[in-house]
Symmetry: C2
Subunit: 329 residues, 2 copies
């Protein structure tokens, strides 16, 4: 099991390469909701997502370690691809990223811009097979997007910064994909501030984690789910992350409507480019705040800012900005 000190060591390892991202708030939003809501802007992180932390920590450990490493490999259609490509470049290690053929040009381009070799495969199965085959080659090191202690420890560094930047945090709310971000952050939060509530949010349409938490066993979705929150389309959480998720204080399932709603509002109020996966956390914030008796300080981890054209088009197809948000609906 990872310990608090592992996160501190990870932070020392990656701090020279990553951004200490700022905290934002919206005066009018706090006025409307009656609470103090702060946003940790990981969308402004390197590669536009907190994934840079885990990717960097894993690559830095590999580069410094005794393992013979000639090439880093990873599979991803999302932010982990860019994170690993970027980190490998920083440590002068060649990287190969396996991506689906239908991945957006923008994401493939960015991954290539960080110097990685990109290999396209027709579907998830073909990608998994290719990665597994390649991982067996001597000198090739595979970095899993979340079921990897180096990655979890890296993601947890975001919480170290939060407790450095904010006093008296009543709750931290983050999206749940594979669970790496929530796991790493929980380790830090339990250590530095045991009274801080840790809250996860997942799309209702991709609720493998919620199902897993209800049944007590890791449930895997039978097929890739359709949700605006593309960062949470993982089929299942990992055996390394699940135990941390089981210790969360609350877990909420957000409808597609609420994901679109909050993506619009946060984009508008914070002037940040926010992924639907990040905005989704606000659903959990509101559900949790509705049952609180006193004014709370909540930190929302805005996990990333990489948004595809199809998602953007869907998000903005209706206008949600005509009525201000409220906890009394």
């Amino acid at each position: 099991m990872l310990e608090f000190n592992d996160i501190v060591e990870s932070y020392e390892r990656i701090a020279p390469y990553i951004h200490k991202t700022p905290i934002f708030s919206s005066q009018v939003l706090n006025q409307w909701l009656g609470h103090n809501i702060l946003f940790k802007a990981e969308c402004l992180q390197k590669v536009g997502a907190f994934k840079a932390r885990g990717g960097c920590n894993a690559v830095a450990k590999i580069a410094a370690g005794s393992v013979h490493a000639e090439r880093i490999i990873a599979q991803s259609s999302g932010n982990h691809a860019q994170a690993v490509a970027w980190a490998a470049q920083r440590f002068n290690l060649p990287a190969t990223i396996f991506m689906p053929e239908n991945v957006s040009q923008v994401k493939a381009q960015a991954t290539k811009a960080y110097g990685a070799e990109v290999v396209f495969k027709k579907d998830r199965k073909a990608i998994d097979d290719a990665v597994e085959a390649k991982a067996k080659k001597s000198g090739t090191v595979w970095i899993h997007p979340y079921n990897d202690e180096r990655v979890i420890a890296g993601q947890g560094t975001v919480a170290l910064e939060i407790f450095d930047q904010v006093n008296e945090v009543d709750a931290i709310v983050a999206p749940c994909g594979g669970g790496g971000l929530l796991s790493g952050s929980s380790i830090v939060s339990r250590h530095l501030s045991p009274s801080t509530k840790m809250i996860g949010v997942e799309p209702l349409e991709a609720n493998d984690a919620a199902q897993s938490l209800r049944t007590g066993n890791i449930v895997s979705l039978p097929a890739p789910p359709t949700t605006l929150a593309d960062g949470a389309r993982t089929l299942s959480v990992g055996h390394l992350t699940f135990p941390y998720l089981q210790q969360l204080d609350s877990f909420f399932e957000a409808s597609e409507k609420s994901i679109a709603y909050w993506t619009q509002w946060l984009t508008h109020l914070l002037k940040l480019t926010i992924e639907p996966t990040s905005a989704m956390a606000m659903f959990g914030v509101c559900e949790w705040l509705k049952v609180q008796q006193t004014q709370k300080t909540v930190v929302v981890i805005l996990s990333g800012g990489n948004i595809d054209k199809p998602s953007r088009d869907k998000i903005w197809s209706t206008d949600n900005l005509s009525q201000p948000p409220s906890l009394h609906d």
Copy 2:
């Protein structure tokens, strides 16, 4: 004429209320363009635009001054409305903002959220008449969006921050609406760094300033122009700002296509919500860089982040992200 010291005094006046906004850059953009392009994120300023600086300075001077002030008034369909409403609230002065009936609900709402009375009028003429009539009342003080020394001095504080945050600035590029931002910034730049080039950019479809610069006289557009850069829809520059604009080193006119193009790219690369008016500046950046012989450091003032749904829909109606930007097209 305003002097450098007026800007310094303005900064002392407004610093407790405004954000010192951060500077951003995109590693891949700089790689693609081969220069060091930095972005001063005034979209993260109070009310989402640099206008908070000028509005705050004007209101603060009024609140502290010997003028009998019972009410602040302003007319605007854009960021100046919110800036004056916000600043008046901070200084406990009632404010009335005159807006067109067809202004977006979002902007009217935000202005009301800052405590201002909002009066809707059917068109620009009706608004101007109402403001002028109201301004004659004793105790009522009118704040013009740009043709006002207090406002110009406030806007110039953005350049003070730039020279504090960045060493050796080869050029500052900013959008031109009424010219307040470029005027105030020029005063600072000429004083602190005479070799820094000051560059303005205007929409080709709303090129009153470019026409004015060509003819040497202030040209007024016959009717409100149609452009994505809604912050630059002003019919003419002011007699206070024109002399500063005449001293700019370069001035460019951006096509609607280039405005949409750069709004997409900056939104994507910087993860910031950027107005088309701000992104427009990148057209000038590229035109200027194309004729430079050495690597340059350019600071782009991202003037604001308030974007309407119709503009957003137009901007994202085509996909500009499939090919990376380049200076060689």
